[in-house]
Symmetry: C2
Subunit: 357 residues, 2 copies
């Protein structure tokens, strides 16, 4: 895509690089950050002080509105190094950009303009391009985020905000197929709430139920609907798909309780291209159990930016344990292979998902 | 109460006071902070670096876990100057302390020990005692809070946290009786969620619906239950009471969707003492409308630390507007007067609610 005119970014380069201290294998998710970050301030109704500078701590007021009242949203995006050309390409940043402003709207926060989000990201990655891994399953994780900065503890929307982008080179998010606990007590989101937004509070609220499931030996929870605990929602921080023969079923977006994942929409497109029928609809635990017993449900997987496609090997609901033996997995691994190929440049980018830095 | 042995607090005094720049009338809620703050760090499973120092900015990692994933909780407490003795007394800090750790548990955060919370607060207030107003309806608002500080964006509970207390002298929170909009689309909390916890995310999620109500000319929303939008929950950031003759009704706590307000429990006690019958139960909008029409529902009010007791003068549900004329208000104003008298020292503190600094 054509590069739009970008607002002035003041660039201050780091005098040294931390890159020499790492090897690719150390790039576990979210532990290390590149040499630079992008920062901008929202003051008096406009975005200003746009700068790229050495990665460094931020100073906040002890009364910082985001810390007290949770106006804080983020996105997760990945950049890959094209195996053929060596060029760096970002996976569907415009879709994350759209979702970022949907989150902003729900959390009563200002919009971030496209040039700040997309072009700021490009310039930042260009500066830290040496940090983009070229090893299979490794990539550069991009974390744009915005939070409220007023030093005022009256309960009202902040008038000032910070937008930042930080970068973290990363390897595989989970290393093994998941054991999943069906959550029927705690709730992630409800219709009329903020489940469709990528706001900080959704994640903190999920930590206790997730920790409880982990104590029991599971990797993640499968959330069910708030009203009846009957229909599946999301799987930990991922969207979820269940494959019945040649049909894949995933919960629809109408209720506003699940996140509209960019990997979810990509997975739906790729499955359709493979001739798999996709149904976005309510899917009950009852149907899952019944059709698993009948041998119709053969695989299940989660999708997300951090995890890409991650297979489920076990699903526990009360005293029932559903196993998903690896020899039946077909659609999930095929989607992952295709997505990887597009991202790494070994398959054609038919839908123009990859945006060059 | 007897002062417990307190862990070592390193005290660094401010070299000047900001107090001379203000007059009592400028003490609007949450705008100005006293000269000092308390800060402590949770590292390697224990609270350390406990210090009282000049009020100053905090440095956080751009990957600060609270900003990204919302592990952030707070409390609101008030201290008053006794009109007779001039002594400073805190209103029910032990009840807020208990709730703080209930919030911490739900958000998968560490407990804060009593000596750090209560005695830290006492020492901080003692140091800034000149900031406690002695004017009616003015007090010192105390804001203890804790947030996650790991500089790591993997979705998992943080291993490090900061606990702080900041102080803000304050006047009346709202200056007029409220016009309330009954919210039947957006939701604050659902059973199995985090509605009973005082975590940052609950407040940010409420800002859009509240802003929509304000656009229509209302002061706050009255939340209804997530499942049927039929039963009342909370009123903005306050618990809510409806008075039918000599009976006051307020939603119960069983569902875990509303905050267990300290002012709520005080109000219940004081009403019982006044001979008002108190029912904690489901209360539907239908019942409210019907009994208002029949002339049985005579007053309604919100309770909270910031607002104390705040009367409702109008309640709008779709096309129906229920008016609550001031000449019928009896219980709400009586509770407020009694609470004020206890806090300011002109009525006996029968229940030992006031804790001396």
């Amino acid at each position: 895509m054509a590069q739009k005119a970008m607002r002035d970014i003041e660039i201050t380069r780091a005098t040294t690089t931390k890159l020499n201290d790492f090897s690719i294998e150390q790039f576990t998710f979210g532990k290390h950050y590149t040499d630079h970050m992008l920062e901008a301030d929202y003051i008096d109704g406009e975005w200003t002080n746009v700068s790229i500078k050495p990665y460094q701590p931020i100073s906040i007021s002890p009364a910082c509105s985001a810390i007290h009242y949770g106006q804080s949203i983020f996105e997760g995006i990945k950049a890959y190094r094209d195996k053929q050309s060596g060029k760096i390409r970002i996976f569907r940043p415009y879709d994350n950009y759209k979702r970022f402003n949907i989150s902003a709207h729900r959390m009563q926060m200002p919009e971030v303009p496209e040039d700040l989000f997309i072009e700021g990201m490009r310039q930042l990655i260009a500066l830290d391009e040496a940090w983009v891994p070229s090893v299979h399953d490794y990539s550069l994780y991009i974390r744009p985020f915005m939070f409220a900065t007023d030093g005022y503890i009256g309960v009202k929307p902040s008038t000032t905000y910070k937008f930042l982008i930080i970068l973290s080179p990363t390897g595989p998010y989970y290393s093994h197929p998941m054991r999943i606990f069906v959550e029927e007590k705690y709730v992630r989101a409800v219709e009329g709430g903020v489940g469709f937004a990528k706001n900080a509070g959704n994640y903190g609220a999920a930590m206790f139920p997730t920790a409880e499931a982990k104590k029991r030996g599971y990797d993640q929870v499968l959330w069910t609907d708030a009203k009846e605990h009957k229909y599946v929602q999301e799987c930990g921080t991922m969207n979820v798909f269940f494959v019945f023969g040649n049909t894949a079923v995933t919960p629809g977006l109408e209720s506003g309780t699940i996140l509209e994942g960019v990997t979810r929409m990509s997975t739906i497109q790729l499955m359709k291209d493979m001739g798999v029928k996709v149904e976005e609809r309510d899917l009950s635990i009852g149907e899952i159990k019944e059709r698993h017993k009948a041998g119709e449900l053969t695989e299940a997987f989660g999708t997300g930016t951090a995890a890409t496609v991650l297979m489920i090997r076990e699903l526990a609901d009360n005293d029932d344990t559903l196993l998903f033996p690896e020899d039946k997995w077909k659609v999930g691994p095929a989607v992952k292979a295709k997505l990887d190929a597009i991202r790494e440049g070994s398959a054609a980018d038919t839908y123009n998902w990859m945006v060059e830095v």
